[in-house]
Symmetry: C2
Subunit: 489 residues, 2 copies
């Protein structure tokens, strides 16, 4: 693997800049789709010529990105700066080992809670779960749990109420505490190291509030479980009725399919839902092995990321889920992308001099159309847009036809507007078009397709990291602030 700008294939790609944009034709729309049974990725809106597509494939081969992915799956220490393996694919892979064992424990515990067999200190069943954790311990799990809430409403299944407590701001605790009945609430405290400042402080607020209610330590313990590495401060059977384990080889932002995300998921919706999320993710991990980028969805998306960032010079990317259920998904992708690849040092620890991870941002469509889309359509800067859509509404949705049809019509209208623009005699009503856009579309938002979406983006970002010759699995950039804050307190 070389620095991106040292690859002759990158130079060839950059030379093709002059061919861009190619016209959008019905043939392009038909051909420029990478298909998987769970997701389709349509990239006709990038307005690529066939030569550019070939050059993208050549770049992928030159950087050996598929071999690098296999090295991850084979357990090589691909987190180079920390000399660690990268294990998150294993949480949903064919040989889950340690992760499978912990998943089974989490599912067993969740079944007990959901049946009422495991209950709080006052013999009342748990109705509410609060996930206490920050960064990857919040964002991925929140994207998954909130992503499935409306789906679950259409099933005849028990749904536990869910809250997320992350911020060290004491108002975050106050807001949540005011909404719950502690006697029917289970708190999951999540910190890999067991020492995360925010999480430790929030755990302290929770136990203090329990004490203030007159609970004994034994009673409080009945409402607390932890997710952590073995032998940390949170691996304490005197304080937590159960502990579930992760290890150092999964970064927080990649931990959604470990017990960091799946204990919560199994508690809230049941273990069957978790199994489907994992199956969907595993299916996209399989797809990511394919060497041909026209079949490998994540790889094609990653190559387009390089095209937009390092050839077109874009510095931001908008992710627009046309689904209110995915309102929390862009914040997860923002962390996944910016924390993985927002770096200026390559895998060998040397400085690089080309652009990496753009700013990732997004809000649901159609809401975002009434907000920042003005800039995306008519701003001087080119900001690529990736929309996420679902072909079918839930059968039991209110007015499923009219509302969902209008949602999809809005999505398609935006893609057309971004790609083709509109000429007008008044410059203020002119749309230049030629704005790169793409669509990730699934038949329906279900546990399986949501798992697939999660893995699609994880793998996309992994491939982008390889193409940029970055280590996407460390996060030195967050250390200095932590040190300075701890020195101050």
């Amino acid at each position: 693997m070389r620095n991106l700008t040292d690859c002759p294939e990158f130079q060839q790609l950059a030379d093709l800049r002059q061919d861009w944009p190619a016209p959008l034709t019905p043939a392009t729309i038909r051909d420029q789709v990478a298909r998987h049974c769970l997701l389709h990725f349509s990239y006709a809106g990038y307005l690529l010529s066939p030569e550019i597509r070939h050059a993208l494939q050549a770049l992928a081969e030159s950087q050996g990105v598929i071999a690098a992915y296999h090295a991850i799956l084979d357990g090589q220490a691909m987190n180079t700066s920390e000399n660690r393996v990268v294990s998150h694919h294993q949480t949903r892979g064919p040989n889950r080992g340690f992760y499978g064992k912990e998943q089974a424990r989490a599912d067993h515990f969740a079944d007990g809670v959901r049946s009422g067999e495991l209950h709080g200190a006052f013999s009342r069943p748990f109705t509410t779960v609060v996930q206490v954790g920050i960064g990857g311990s919040e964002l991925g799990p929140k994207a998954l749990v909130e992503g499935l809430h409306c789906w679950a409403l259409t099933q005849s299944t028990l749904i536990l109420e869910t809250h997320f407590l992350a911020n060290i701001d004491p108002n975050d605790f106050a807001r949540i505490w005011a909404q719950i009945d502690p006697e029917t609430t289970l708190f999951i405290t999540v910190s890999k190291s067991g020492t995360t400042l925010e999480t430790a402080l929030n755990l302290g607020l929770i136990t203090q509030a329990m004490t203030d209610l007159g609970w004994t330590a034994a009673q409080s313990r009945q409402h607390l479980v932890s997710v952590t590495m073995p032998q940390t401060a949170l691996d304490d059977p005197t304080s937590f009725r159960d502990r579930f384990y992760i290890d150092a080889s999964i970064g927080g932002r990649y931990s959604g399919t470990s017990v960091v995300g799946t204990l919560l998921l199994s508690l809230v919706y049941g273990p069957v839902v978790t199994a489907e999320v994992l199956a969907g993710a595993a299916a996209l991990d399989e797809n990511a092995r394919l060497p041909d980028c026209t079949h490998n969805l994540s790889l094609m998306a990653a190559l387009l990321g390089i095209w937009e960032c390092n050839v077109l010079g874009c510095t931001a990317r908008a992710i627009i889920p046309y689904s209110q259920s995915l309102a929390a998904f862009p914040a997860h992708l923002q962390q996944l992308d910016c924390e993985s690849n927002g770096k200026s040092v390559n895998r060998d620890g040397q400085s690089i001099d080309y652009a990496t991870s753009p700013v990732v941002f997004g809000e649901p469509g159609t809401n975002s159309q009434h907000s920042f889309f003005q800039k995306l359509h008519q701003g001087p800067e080119l900001v690529p847009i990736q929309c996420i859509g679902f072909a079918k509404p839930y059968a039991s949705s209110p007015a499923p036809g009219a509302a969902h049809d209008a949602l999809l019509a809005s999505l398609v209208a935006q893609l057309v507007a971004f790609s083709t623009g509109q000429a007008h005699s008044d410059p203020n009503k002119t749309f230049s078009g030629h704005r790169p856009c793409s669509l990730v579309i699934a038949p329906e938002l279900t546990p399986q397709t949501l798992g697939a979406l999660l893995a699609f983006y994880e793998n996309k970002i992994m491939f982008e990291g390889f193409l940029w010759n970055l280590n996407s699995f460390d996060q030195e950039g967050v250390q200095l602030g932590k040190t300075l804050a701890q020195d101050a307190t």
Copy 2:
């Protein structure tokens, strides 16, 4: 007013790029603060020399931005493309006229609801309000209402439960309908034109659901009010028990201090809270009249926006409120900024060739530190960070000392890390520093300081628009998508 790059003062400013960054000294930290009794704006982290500050002031004078603001206040048609006046300052100004009358009606109605005198069709008091609206009818009001929830918890005041229904996705309705008791819920339908597609469709879902419950039209009417322009489809006394009016001279994104935001605010927390929000906003409108940018907070912030965008070449700006209560504030600012100034055509309808509104994004601190701050600290691209902080916790906060101290320590640590960086023998642990950052700080998050914050940003964006020679008050870039979607449905 000229195009930015045609101002000789801009060229002088650009020439000072070579002096940047200046060293951060105790004197800079002390001097580079614009002070108002409700807010301080500290910009020492922009690492400006005194020469740059003088050149910024010269640019403001050259573009006549204070005169242009006075033209708005004097009722000149400063929305040039639509030939309209720009009235949002009047909603909180000394002569509120029409807006004051509507505010009084809204407050009277809210008092009736809060006392229980005005109730639903089944003689039960209203406990819940759903604001049905999209874009500016959701984002600003949501930032205000959610921003004050924890403050209200510390007061002994009635708080009505609040939900926001915006998206055309029918799951948005399903999610909210599952959480409320319709018999105790009041729905505010907000659409200036009365024809917003999403809002009309959601209103249809609501009335259908009421019909499905067996309610008569007269019973449903008891649960519906509207905010709209006179004589639109929503100005219908047969469907709405009351109607509150706005007019065409306030754009959606600027309507938070009109009845679009304040009817809700008065219902949820009471009219006294609304009055304080308006007073805070009015105080910053007054401050924005000051010609000297070292005293005019919004003007200084706007000038720094030009500096970062057009001299340093930054294409994004992060807004980080160190307050979980302000979690919804960045999405409001994203609309306010990108929809106002994400444009390529000047006030005279001619194309311009320089950068305007960067991508605005943000999540609360400390959460964001555990997410995309990696990129902000160590990414190749310079992304200016603006933090918002509050000096004091609420007196009744849980563990007010420890948690709030840790929150502030984290904020300060980040500003130090961004400004000064850290040398290290390992490039992967090196922080370049010299990343522009600033701080907007208020004594405490209250209705008055939140109103001040809102106006600070509105006025900042207005001044940036003047400096860029843009009309910040139209939004032609959202029209094409609307037309195409309506053609398709």
